[in-house]
Amino acid sequence: MVDLETLPEEPSESAAPEVDIVHAIETRKLNLWYGTFQAIFDVDLEVKHNLITSMIGPSGCGKSTFLRCCNRINERLGYVRTTGAVEILGHDIYAPEVELIQVRKQVGMVFQRPNPLPLSIRDNILFGARLHDPEAAKASRAAQDDIVEKALTRVLLWDTVKDRLGHSARELSLEEQQKLCIARLLPVQPKVLLMDEPCSALDPKGTEAVEELIWELREAYTILIVTHNMAQARRASDECIFMLHGKVVEHTKTAEMFVTPIHKETADYIEGRYG
């Protein structure tokens, strides 16, 4: 359990560079259809900067779909249609002049199943850096090693893997793989990290370790985490969003939601009457 009293009330004051940004993710009247099936209805959400916000709700309520709107990865499917606006750090990412590559650079994503690439640990970490920065691709070995060490240290993995950076990332345990998947996002310095049930493939010990890591990262990144695990939402997030049938039912401080939920649906879900 995290003591919520000690959390900063207004994180934007302490966050250095973009002082004016309060909301890392803001949506207005967001609707989404898969073909003719509407998955998201008029969602207005404001996800605060440099906090961990969790999204809970029963299967099929649109949490993951919402997450995938925030870096426009949904569009890959081809038959997806969205209306409304999604602003990341104050900029509409559905605006016509937006370069998707830049969106993906700012908004990293971690998946349910760890999906390290079939490359070495080192190359996994350098993959993003090499994509976005041709200089990094040509940089000296020492400079690249530095990037690798920083990223792996940040995710508390350096000591475990420093002697086998050349080994395939797929040899790591699931917990280590998931940490690596988080680490490989860091060299391109994203502002927002989206996590789609990042612990659901892990055992309890791995879950704990990855949760700790996520908590560790909250100072530097805005983290939006979808979870099925209510205990996880409760212990590892500042704010909590409850979704049902493609709509946002409730969005409050996590501590409040789990103690005094406003809506009956929220209370029922939290108490495990459905879901």
Binding site: I73, G78, R104, F111, P118, F127, R170, C181
Partner: protein
């Protein structure tokens, strides 16, 4: 309490019967292959020799070797590959990595399936019209190989797509979410992990090409031409056509000769298949997921 009942016994008897039936069918399947191979080895084996492989046919093709046909087949296959592999792999990459699922893609897929179903003699006539006459390549290795290429394209495309499909979708998603373009994803992750499958498909394809007769008959393969081709604009002999010729068109051929030619042809095809299987085994062992 656990003894078999009459019903159990009856079910077991039926079970045995079906099992036996399926086994027989499987053995029946192997039979023709075994017979063909045995006959070829027994009847064709004696006519095989180093000279047979490395000399020209003499005395109206009733004696001598098969060198021009062997070399010609290699030429035909290699040129056909040079034409069909880049196009086929590119098309497969487009269809599996880029194309949205819409009516155009569906029509293209349908066309590929239909192209695979076109009889080879029809391809041959197409080759005569398109490559020999329209593009003025004349009857040449080039025209014959392009005809073979057109014929094998659908299979190259299909096998390449299968190989691409075998690369887990999660790898692509990981790349896209880090901001990789489709091409970067293909080059850095998809191709390196599917190249074994693609090569396997291609080699299997080669072996089919080597045996085709109809498509090359009118487009570039010669009845009798005891010289080695010098360029793609030359005509050439080919093993498959040579086999047809010595079996049916030439009088007084010694009985063992056609079998020898057939044995060389089948040996060529099987050894290519063996290489392909070897490839797959080596590369599959390296897979990391």
């Amino acid at each position: 309490m656990f003894e078999a009942t009459e019903l159990n016994h009856r079910n077991q008897r039926t079970e045995k019967l079906w099992r036996l039936l399926f086994l027989m069918m499987t053995l029946l399947l192997i039979l023709p292959v075994a017979v063909i191979l045995t006959v070829l080895v027994v009847k064709g084996g004696p006519s095989l020799s180093i000279d047979f492989l490395f000399t020209e046919p003499t005395q109206g093709m009733t004696a001598g070797g098969i060198l021009p046909a062997l070399v010609g087949t290699v030429w035909l296959v290699v040129v056909a590959l040079i034409a069909s592999v880049p196009i086929g792999v590119a098309a497969a990459l487009y269809l599996s990595e880029y194309a949205p699922d819409n009516w155009l893609t569906r029509i293209i897929n349908l066309a590929i399936i239909n192209l695979a179903g076109v009889p080879s003699i029809v391809h041959a006539l197409f080759g005569v019209g398109a490559f020999v006459a329209f593009f003025r390549f004349g009857t040449s290795i080039l025209a014959a190989s392009l005809t073979l290429a057109v014929m094998t394209l659908p299979v190259v495309i299909v096998s390449t797509r299968e190989a691409l499909k075998a690369v887990p979708q999660a790898f692509r998603e990981a790349c896209w979410n880090m901001g990789a373009t489709r091409w970067q994803t293909i080059r850095k992750v998809v191709l390196p992990n599917s190249v074994s499958g693609i090569l396997t498909g291609v080699i299997l394809e080669v072996s089919r090409t080597a045996g085709e007769t109809a498509p090359i008959m009118f487009t570039g393969a010669a009845f009798f031409l005891p010289f080695l081709p010098q360029s793609v604009y030359d005509q050439t002999m080919a093993l498959s056509l040579h086999l047809f010729v010595v079996s049916t068109q030439v009088p007084d051929v010694p009985e063992g000769l056609p079998f020898g030619v057939a044995l060389v042809l089948i040996g060529l095809v099987l050894s290519m298949n063996a290489v392909s299987i070897g490839f797959r085994m080596v590369l599959r062992g390296k897979k990391k997921w």
